[in-house]
Symmetry: C2
Subunit: 424 residues, 2 copies
């Protein structure tokens, strides 16, 4: 008997018919002898509907008091879905009980709309499991020290599921999604993209932060911190497939490097067209200049991703960095009006039509020449590289966004990601 | 400065536009110097939508475990509306905070779907009011001793509002509805029906239990028990009418008989076509026979309303009683299969096509001949009376349902209810 946490996304919970399917799948796991904790999202569209109503009354809610109300409103979406799933399980003849985050309780800080889980008291849940019940817990939410409902932000249900699995030392946390698992890249761009049977935690973290939408990045961080065995799998397989087959499907996120895992140099290609590039040209190359340029940007709560400083010529240098495309206009305005005059910059240039393409692979640690193979591949396709950034297990380049699909396909082929990796 | 509780029904909360109107009205009261606690219902249609989803998964939820889930699901409707109203008030520049029943807390017993309020801790609410905030509390729900969400049953938001007003010793509880107040009878049947400026608590209780849908009967009982000054008024007056005018509008429910109140003999005509009549004929007239007949009905959890026992002839008597029309088939079956054989009854007859018409008035206590005037009026219209039941302040008759409108109109005219009562 194992303790298993299942997480189901909004699409899987999108109608009573689909909720019934989730119940049948959960019942199969229970009848195979496992203890089950289930963390469902709100029915698809529900969170948007609720926040849409709120926005009609408060178009720009910025105060903590308003954010508190937004959280209380948004949290009801999951409160409905846990109740419905409990009823569906009871209709299958199982004992099932649902809890809202505040009932568990899942304690968070008070950062409304983006709260962080501080601790989970699993006493009540354990007692229910011991009594033979399936326990269903709302994703996305918790309760702060003052008894206010908080939410974890978009995609927070993944984090809730992993946090529950960590707190309870679950044997595995299965994340059911509308994809098959983690692919070498997006199959809508590269039809030959292949599902990875496993991926290392570090690679998954890079893939998530580089734009792969399969798992919310905070849930991956959580899984890494507490070593929660995590598997991403499809909620669209028939609910009655053999449990062994289901347990081995999808993509396993692994922590032990000496586990038998795929030893590819590069595991996947991530991409992201949500960024924009800004270049400050001709600033004096002196100590403190980076802070003079980027400090005001950070002070304006704008996240900076890649940063490049060119070698200097004649005591002058150029700075380039990328921000989220939503922050582009604001950043450009800030630099032109405040930073350029203060730093005697010659010019501020911006380009929102860029994209970032990254190769990710734990094998890069021990293989040389991976980055240069990437640059050669892009060069052979006539694609100009505007910025480069590297870490131990990834190399990212910024290119013109019109070349994005071409670059992803060429790299996928160059690193032979369409080929299954031979077992180690 | 007074402490005022406002309660708004689902129609008043039916859209963001209407919620904004509620906020404007509440803001007007706050700016007039009052402390406000607001108890809104769920947006109209929402509770039905939620319970409809539940019914798709659990068509006949009867276990306590299922009812617990139904309550958790249904309670979210009000949790959304309090949050939206708080945002709307904040947009008016007021400090506002919303609480779900469990946050106040409003403590109830564990009778899911029909819980009763046991006590309300107003510490948190009082602190907020003292800090200048408008406090918004979910209607319809509370929390039991085990931390489960409970609901009070349909119309429970009226009860929540009155209970909050009682616990906080509010100066007045204003129930905003989609009617103008309490009328002498339903204006859809008698166009001359007149709004009552005031009505005694006992009369209101009879009106509510006899079918007038203006207030939920439990809320009236609660108001009576704790002497909560209660006023029913329209949420469809323009929000910006003068506050004095608004405070005097609608119908005041009074407790002091020596208050200057309308001294009509009869205050209103109530009616109800939700009942059905059952007659057990030719049973032996001996001690214990009433229990032998009605005991099994009560044991089957069927509520009995009126009961009549005829004078006996030749040691035999007839029993007639009424039940809710939904229980008619079940009751008839029970009597024919179990009770009749056990009591040697000659026959069991049923008639679902009946209605109950009642005259209600505290003045009946001190006026003779009121009932006989009722019977004469019906007789002049050729309406046969099938059953009669009386209390100190009401007389009810059961008649063929096809005469209901005729009876109500004739009685309304006979007791001159269309005429304003001269001030006492």
């Amino acid at each position: 008997m194992a303790l298993i946490v299942h997480k189901y996304g909004g699409t899987s919970m999108g109608s009573t018919e689909r909720i019934r399917n989730v119940a049948l799948r959960v019942a199969k796991w229970v009848r195979a002898g496992h203890q089950l904790v289930v963390v469902p999202s709100a029915m698809s569209g529900e969170t948007n509907r609720l926040l849409g109503l709120a926005r009609e009354l408060a178009p720009t809610p910025t105060s903590a008091a308003a954010e508190r109300e937004l959280d209380a409103i948004a949290a009801t979406g999951e409160q409905v879905s846990v109740g419905l799933l409990a009823l569906a399980l009871q209709a299958q003849g199982l004992d099932a009980v649902s809890y809202a985050g505040w009932q568990v309780p899942i304690a968070t800080d008070s950062a409304f709309t983006k709260a962080r889980i501080e601790r989970i008291d699993d006493t009540r849940v354990r007692a229910d499991l011991a009594a033979g019940k399936v326990v269903i817990i709302t994703g996305f939410q918790g309760i702060d020290g003052q008894g206010n409902v908080t939410t974890l932000g978009r995609g927070g249900s993944d984090t809730s599921a992993v946090a529950v699995a960590a707190a309870m030392k679950a044997d595995e946390c299965l994340i059911y999604t509308d994809v098959d698992g983690v692919d070498t890249t997006d199959p809508r761009i590269v039809p030959e993209a292949r599902r990875l049977a496993s991926i290392s935690f570090e690679e998954m973290l890079e893939m998530a932060s580089l734009g792969s939408k399969v798992l919310q990045i905070r849930s991956v961080e959580f899984a890494g911190k507490y070593r929660v065995p995590l598997r991403v799998l499809s909620s669209f397989t028939p609910w009655d497939i053999a449990i062994d087959e289901e347990a081995r499907s999808g993509t396993l996120i692994t922590f032990e490097e000496d586990e038998k895992m795929e030893q590819a140099v590069v595991s996947g290609i991530a991409f992201n067209r949500d960024e924009a590039k800004i270049t400050v040209m001709g600033v004096p190359d002196r100590p403190g200049i980076a802070y003079q340029i980027l400090g005001p940007v950070a002070d304006a709560n704008i996240d900076i991703d890649m940063i490049i400083q060119n070698v200097s010529h004649d005591g002058k240098t150029d700075f380039s960095f990328t921000v989220h495309r939503n922050d582009y206009a604001k950043t450009l305005d800030l630099l032109k009006s405040k930073v350029a005059p203060a730093t005697n910059a010659a010019q501020v240039l911006g380009d929102p039509k860029i994209c970032k393409v990254s190769i990710v692979g734990i094998g890069m640690r021990s293989h040389v020449g991976v980055a240069s193979k990437m640059f050669r591949t892009l060069s052979e396709e006539g694609i100009n590289i505007q910025m480069i950034s590297t870490s131990e297990i990834k190399t990212s380049v910024v290119i013109d966004e019109k070349y994005m699909e071409l670059a992803v396909r060429a790299l996928h082929k160059a690193f032979e990601l369409e080929q299954p990796v031979p077992a180690a």
